[in-house]
Symmetry: C2
Subunit: 390 residues, 2 copies
């Protein structure tokens, strides 16, 4: 009996660009990217897949894309057919859409050195990234995120996925994009819910890692709620930066049990499902953060004052911190999310809690009664909140 | 306009073990592996997926597996349901089988730190590896290859995949296994075709990299054809070793255009498809090697004597070096395989040829007339070959 040992490392490099009007003929960013990627030997193709919610609100987008790449026809061959697919979580629940993208890859002869570019919210990006990752064992993938959440969190990371039997991200891979282009102009057309939803991911990362960033969000909460673009751009940039740092300094492909960026997420994923995905991911995360902050307070880890600052900031931003489905207290309820969360991530149950603002700490057990108590607190507070002021 | 740069490396480590009677109660290898992997905090599950061709020829296997893991119940929880799926290339053409494995992962609550173990030929390994790679963004995958080809080549590498619209490996990922167990006892039940088929991958790697290994194969061709187990074990070990070295010293996830280990494969993949997968992968590779050797000779790169040594070695092993489908000289014929090969691998067309035995050299163009000439030579030689000796 003998054995051979195999060991190797693979390096992944990509840039996240911040810009506006990406497809404006005067914006050189995309053209520069393709210039750098060009090789003398082969022509490369570029297939776009676009979120219908983006096309609806930016009806000129397809034309702009065609004009832009007609001007730069020397760099890359735009596939004339722009694939438009439904946006939102429904996209991730529909296996036919994966098939549709794979089919387009096949029909258009997109090879591993060609590109699939996705324009859209986190859902479309997750779906297209997955389809690109499995086609030909991985086609180069460009992400153009169009929501706050996808620009500051999901779009800059290394994960993709779709749902299976409505289990979040049950199918997916770890495959980084080759580039990410954050275009702030897309944010202008977001409805208030989607403008707001992504902010919860910034609060999440601030709470576990960076007190100063939380204080900044706290003091800019009203401006953010009023759709101040300057404030939003800072928030997105800082959140994306922390996200990238976290990935490169840690365990990029999540081989261990620790998963700090999933603070507030164990209940969020379940709540999304329980509400039939009516609750947006970011909205569910806001509730999840509130829940786990209250839980931390019950453990005596977070002061009442700090807990209240967190909940107040979330409310100032416009988040509703209670959802009736939270009270489904049976085997299908939110506590079931704990088991599913562990199962999805693998290994030991590992939940991030707070020992102060900017200071996340992992635990491996969650007490159901404490969770119920936190839910009860949210229920009461929100019912008071909803009373008209005297 | 600003940007953030992301850069990180991920390390992959695994062992390839050589053993016999892996599930014999006295063989500690698997138990030792799980002991090393054990963690105090969590129990891990182990789901087996087995090639029906292996179960048919090793009817005691399911019982041996159950007995083995009953003895080692402290280390890992065997999922009682052993999944048995059809073996051979048909498995990779059937999308329902991917679904069946994903479904078993879901029903049995297999998480990312648990294991999916595949026992079978390269086809079953490719399929199960793919299903494991996409479930929960990657479940730990153990390979137990049972054919010559999978023990010396496909099973020790980092690729998996299934066919799509009968295009080979159109869907797949680069994800290394956590361990490979090569059990020589499985080889005893292979039919002659499968015993032989995998030898072509060893000839391939020898021809492009290692003259001494080719000479060894040449001088042991008769013994190998006569199913000498000692010779076969050496061949598998050396081929696996060269394969592993190639991966770790090069471009493991094949991000560039170079793909030396695909010597002889551009026509092989197409031929498999043209013959409706009646021709085994390894059999097609033998023909592909013959074709590209003759082509190299036509370029004046390989001497007639060396070309003849290669073809003779293949024939001594029992390979048939001509297949009527080679002569399908239209847009669907074997030359179409060149374009599909480039498209699947991406980037510039890059084909390995020989400038001597043990010395592969890449070219970026293939002349159709030279290919036709090489095919004609094979047709003639084989028709002479098939004549009864006077
Ligand atoms: N991969 C990761 O690491 C990761 C991380 C966090 C979240 N996610 C996932 O991201 C998804 C949520 O993404 P999201 O919050 O971006 O929402 P979303 O993608 O579901 O989009 C919400 C809605 O906004 C529309 N839309 C998108 N851009 C628009 C624009 N510029 N103007 C107007 N409408 C627009 C969409 O059509 C959709 O109807 C969830 O599935 C979540 O699980 C993934
Ligand atoms: N992933 C990679 O890097 C890679 C590399 C090379 C080849 N491959 C793929 O591997 C596949 C070919 O694999 P293969 O040559 O092992 O053939 P195979 O897996 O198709 O098996 C051939 C037959 O042998 C049977 N069988 C398997 N083990 C047996 C045993 N011990 N006793 C009796 N019968 C047994 C199977 O049931 C099947 O009927 C092709 O799909 C090829 O593309 C993959
Ligand atoms: Zn999130
Ligand atoms: Zn091969």
């Amino acid at each position: 009996m003998s054995h051979l040992q195999q060991s190797f490392t693979v390096q992944f490099v990509y840039n996240v660009f911040f810009t506006g009007k990406l497809f404006d003929s005067t914006n050189p960013l995309l053209a520069d990217f393709f210039t750098q990627q060009a090789s003398a030997e082969t022509r490369k193709k570029l297939l776009f897949v676009i979120d219908s919610g983006v096309v609806d609100t930016h009806p000129d987008l397809p034309t702009s894309i065609k004009t832009y790449f007609a001007q730069h026809a020397d760099l890359v061959d735009l596939v004339p057919e722009l694939l438009i697919i439904p946006g939102g979580e429904v996209a991730k629940n529909d296996p036919d859409l994966v098939e549709k993208i794979v089919d387009a890859v096949d029909r258009n002869g997109i090879d591993r050195h060609s590109y699939v570019a996705a324009i859209g919210g986190g859902s479309v990006l997750d779906l297209v990234g997955y389809a690109a990752a499995i086609s030909h064992r991985g086609i180069r993938h460009i992400r153009i995120p169009t929501t706050v959440l996808s620009q500051n969190d999901s779009g800059v990371g290394v994960k993709n996925g779709v749902n299976y039997r409505s289990k979040k991200n049950f199918l997916g891979t770890f495959v980084p994009p080759v580039a990410v282009f954050n275009d702030n102009q897309f944010l202008l057309t977001l409805d208030d819910r989607d403008w707001r939803a992504g902010i919860s991911e910034a609060i999440k990362v601030a709470l576990i890692k960076d007190n100063a960033f939380f204080e900044w969000i706290e003091s800019h909460a009203e401006r953010l709620a009023a759709r101040d673009m300057t404030a939003m751009q800072y928030l997105i940039h800082r959140c994306a930066e922390m996200h990238l740092q976290h990935i490169s300094s840690g365990d990029p492909f999540e081989m261990g049990s620790s998963r700090p960026l999933d603070f507030g997420h164990w209940s969020a994923h379940k709540l999304e499902q329980l509400t039939n995905f009516e609750t947006r991911h970011g909205e569910a995360v806001a509730i999840g953060i509130a829940l786990d902050s209250l839980y931390s307070q019950q453990l005596g880890w977070l002061t009442e004052a700090d807990t209240s600052r967190i909940l107040t900031t979330l409310r100032t931003l416009g988040f509703t911190l209670y959802q009736p489905m939270l009270d489904t207290d049976n085997s299908a309820g939110v506590l079931k999310g704990l088991a599913e969360f562990r199962e999805h991530l693998g290994g030991q149950l590992t939940i991030m809690l707070l020992q102060g603002i900017g200071r996340g700490v992992e635990v491996h057990e969650i007490d159901a009664d404490h969770v119920r108590q936190a839910i009860a607190t949210l229920r009461e507070q929100e019912s008071l909140n909803l009373q008209p002021a005297l």
